[in-house]
Symmetry: C2
Subunit: 190 residues, 2 copies
Amino acid sequence: MTNRVPVPLAKAYRLMNHGPTVLVSSRHGDAVNVMAAAWSMPLDFDPPKVAVVIDKNTLTRSMIEGSGEFALNIPSRELARLTLQVGSTSGREVDKFAAFNAGAWTGEQVGAPLLDGCLAWLECRVLPEPHIQNTYDLFLGEVVAAWADPAVFADGHWNMAAGGKKSIHYVAGGHFFETGEAFEVPDSPR
Amino acid sequence: MTNRVPVPLAKAYRLMNHGPTVLVSSRHGDAVNVMAAAWSMPLDFDPPKVAVVIDKNTLTRSMIEGSGEFALNIPSRELARLTLQVGSTSGREVDKFAAFNAGAWTGEQVGAPLLDGCLAWLECRVLPEPHIQNTYDLFLGEVVAAWADPAVFADGHWNMAAGGKKSIHYVAGGHFFETGEAFEVPDSPR
């Protein structure tokens, strides 16, 4: 089981503000699936919204269009290999959860599976915008519940200390960066 | 002067794929401005496109809507303080380039100033989508030229080695992460 505590919706944007690569999970009827997405970002604070690019050719695309729901999962470095695996195979050909031995739990607001071992999770409902979905593969969602592993995110703040779990940032060709040193600019203007 | 070399457009997405915080610069007529944006992402590979959130209340918003152009600048950790400064003041009240002693150069395709000391730059033309601009403050752009400091990005690959320049990832309240250790997943599935 993965440790998790609820994150207040007004703080949910902080889970993605630093630009980590995410896993997009979905459920439609009895089917579940998961893919990787480096192209996602927060879109608003409260109620929190997100934007994510979901290619037309993916099974995830049809499942999200069918269910009107998805979840964004923020993987740790330990899940980098899984991130590549689910990003390079199609749910039309394999049951990725079985093939890659990925466990999951179910959240409270949407049916999409939430992957074990992630650092944080955002349950989302699609904000239907057919024109940009069709033209740019761009999906907007409202975050309706959020969760985090309290070892790395508590009281609205990340605590990714040296030697602990880190989120990851995909570049290309199997290359990632991990999230690096935290720092604060002294005398911040606000 | 800032060292820079052109980045082929097909590789431009790699400049932003890891989710760094960016500076959004703009020129309209004789006026120039710059703001910070943690909420930006690639939107397509080739031709490269980007998405960025630009609040209605910013001067940048009216300048981009007026000119149809903008640039995304990827600051190094040395520019974290400048990132906060330009993110917490309005170009309606101060000339940010003068007030914060920020130098800039001019690219080849758009008029927006490109800030000295950044790691990479993407010159962009707005893809007009009035509905999502008005509803979500969400702007889409096509990248029409891209540049990078060859010390950190060469031959389509980042080289942010330990001790060298790093991009940054804003969280909230003056807190950032720097881009951390690069790693490759062995036997990547593709």
